[in-house]
């Protein structure tokens, strides 16, 4: 057996291992949402008045909006007044030594590398516990390069000009229902600024974790790569087992100025809910968008294996001439999971290029939809897009759907679209079995083969993690 398959086997034999609950004192708002709550969040975080006003504007707009019904996902209505909009560990801590040993133990269980070893591996970690950052590492090393990597709340205090300039510049508060909600009540998240000409010397990595009952999680991430700057950012998350649906509405904004490069990789592993009933899974409504200056490049890579509902379209606005947008996605739905995910590539500048590779895997009673839009504006001469949307079905009770939309206003555009649907056949499984390979390993092998083009875009350690996750998520999906 190869290392990765033994690993898969071992992992496949475990239950959802991150489904434990840490007992930590929380200061949590009672459920409910009105202007006072918005103000209270802002006050709690000691925010300047302009930001309080910005939140309130978003909140007022949100109240005029309807929850979207077009996604191909099905869930009971969310009672936004039944959610608590703020939870935080009692006090903010300066260094790791001050961190509650219980939190550290939780990180250990999750395998979150906050120690020196990870530094040697070249990864800086800004760990978010619930909604407030409790630990930040390697800031000093990054600071030497002039790089800012901190929690969003810190950035509001320490770099208010940057926040004010870029917050909402890619995803305005009016963008959509969930983005508006996030803008009103966002709790925390990460902020990254890479100065002109700087190539970030390490992968920046943030782990998120929901840990308080009944608490919506509203992350806000903003990454700005100034001219000629390069950065690779990793986002991964796990969540404990809960009996109530947990709402997650994050917003991520990327700004790549002229000739900058941003690579944003995600492994998403929120609790998917009970296998049979779907109870307890996370609702994941995410707005992710980046904007490109001239000759710049934004690349999204995502591996979505968790959540009961995934609603997410990492997009790129190709504003600058010669800019490049990429979207590489693996979305897996097993059990009762539903995913409606894809991308928007908006070509505004001349000679802009975009690539879309989407791999959807459905098993159990999972429903998987690809929804993509490629838009070429009038002035976007010589825009090029390549899209490939492949679906794989495991079993006969799941579904795969593709909704590719194309809007072209410029005749010089070149579009290429490929789509396939395949099924893991009994014949293939039997062939593997006949060679001594177990069904579980056979499925992992076939699925990982199917996803190869996306995995190769991931940083090394993430690729390994992603393969593990697919194995675990498919556990028991194949008879």
């Amino acid at each position: 057996m190869t290392d990765s398959t033994t690993m898969l086997e071992e992992l496949a034999s475990r239950e959802y291992e991150h489904g434990f609950v840490t007992d930590i004192e929380q200061e949590t708002f009672p459920p409910g949402l009105d202007e006072d709550v918005v103000r209270a969040i802002s006050a709690k975080k000691n925010e300047p008045d302009w930001l309080t006003q910005w939140r309130l504007k978003a909140f007022r707009h949100w109240q005029t909006m309807e929850e979207p019904t077009w996604p191909k996902v099905d869930y009971d209505p969310i009672d936004y007044q039944a959610i608590s909009y703020f939870a935080a560990p009692k006090k903010l801590l300066e260094s790791l030594d001050e961190v509650d040993p219980e939190i550290l133990a939780t990180y250990k269980k999750l395998g979150i590398p906050l120690d020196e070893q990870k530094a040697l591996a070249g990864v800086a970690v800004d760990a978010v516990f619930d909604s407030v950052s409790v630990a930040t590492t390697y800031k000093d090393k990054l600071a030497e390069e002039g790089i800012i990597f901190c929690s969003f709340s810190e950035a509001v205090q320490d770099h208010p000009d940057l926040i004010r300039k870029y917050l909402g510049s890619v995803v305005p508060h009016t963008d959509n229902f969930f983005a508006a909600l996030n803008s009103a009540v966002f709790s925390d998240g990460s902020f990254v600024y890479i100065p002109k000409g700087v190539r970030c010397p390490m992968e920046l990595s943030t782990y998120f974790r929901i840990n308080a009952p009944n608490t919506g999680q509203f992350e806000r991430t903003l990454i700005v790569a100034d001219e000629d700057a390069h950065v690779s950012y990793l986002e991964g998350c796990t969540a404990p087992q809960r009996d109530e649906n947990q709402l997650h509405a994050a917003v991520v904004e990327l700004v790549a100025l002229d000739r900058a490069k941003i690579k944003y990789s995600t492994v998403q592993n929120w609790y998917p809910g009970d296998k049979e009933t779907g109870v307890g899974g996370i609702f994941n409504f995410v707005t992710k968008r980046g904007i490109c200056g001239e000759e710049s490049k934004i690349s999204w890579t995502q591996v979505e294996t968790g959540s009961a509902i995934t609603w997410k379209y990492p997009s790129v606005i190709l504003k600058g001439d010669h800019s490049v947008g990429e979207f590489y996605s693996v979305a897996l739905t097993a059990g009762r999971q539903q995913a409606d995910t894809g991308t928007k590539m908006v070509h505004l500048g001349k000679n802009t290029r975009s690539t879309i590779i989407s791999k959807g895997i459905s098993a159990g009673k999972g429903q998987n939809s690809y929804r993509g839009l490629v838009k070429v504006a009038k002035g976007a001469d010589n825009a090029r897009n390549f899209s490939q949307c492949d679906s794989m079905l495991i079993g006969s009770e799941c579904g795969a759907h593709t909704f590719p939309y194309i809007e072209i206003r410029n005749p010089s555009a070149q579009m290429e679209h490929e789509a396939t649907t395949s099924k893991i056949g009994e014949d293939q499984i039997f062939y593997c079995n006949q060679r001594g390979i177990s069904t579980e390993d056979a499925v992992s092998m076939i699925v990982n083969g199917f996803c190869k083009e996306v995995f190769k875009e991931l940083p090394m350690e993430f690729a390994v993690e992603a393969q593990k996750l697919l194995g675990v998520s498919l556990e028991g999906s194949v008879g």
């Binding site: 190869t2 056949g425 009994e426 990982n448």
Partner: protein, 254 residues
Amino acid sequence: MLELKNLHVAIGGNEILKGIDLKINAGEVHAIMGPNGSGKSTLASVLAGREEYEVTSGEVLFQGENLLDLDAETRAREGLFLAFQYPVEIPGVGNTYFLRTALNAIREHRGQPPLDAIDFLQLVREKADIVKLDPALLKRAVNEGFSGGEKKRNEIFHMAVLEPRLAILDETDSGLDIDALRIVSEGVNSLRSPERSFIVITHYQRLLDHIIPDSVHVLKDGRIVESGGRELALELEARGYDWLDSDPALEAAR
């Protein structure tokens, strides 16, 4: 090595094998011939552990164990190999990677440590050479886009790497050109040993010129209606199957 006692097999309520008795000792090569649809591949599939087929009665002993109690991967790990009549394509999974996963699963079952990448590659090169497998096929996905002949050759290559105790070759010769037939046969012959047995399913006596069988059986309408030495194959070539009666009652009356 292998003993079948009055094996009855049905699919969807249709009886396909109607009482097979067969005994194969270690080191022997048995050929099974018979008309299309007589149940040869069904027999091979049942022995390999395909679940769609229902064993309605009878018994199969493999190395003294009750074969029918084992699932397909355990049978494979215990040394049973089937070269498929129609090898399946597995897109995205490299041939070499696939084979290494298979070999290490088998080794683990035998309590052997996994082969590391270097030792494995050496083994693969050596075995690929035996069946003159185009090295490019090692890098491609399992059987994907392989020609008919390449698929058959790849099956024998898998067999050479996995070194089974009992190999069932289901029409491995069909689709092979004359040179390939010789090469594949030589590959099989090089694997013949006192510990290894073969069941060779074929329509053509030509193959049996290369792989000399110890016995030849004729399967017709789900029954073994005739068994003999290699000369039986020659007789079948000359006379066809019509002279053999599939109904034992008629046969007895004759």
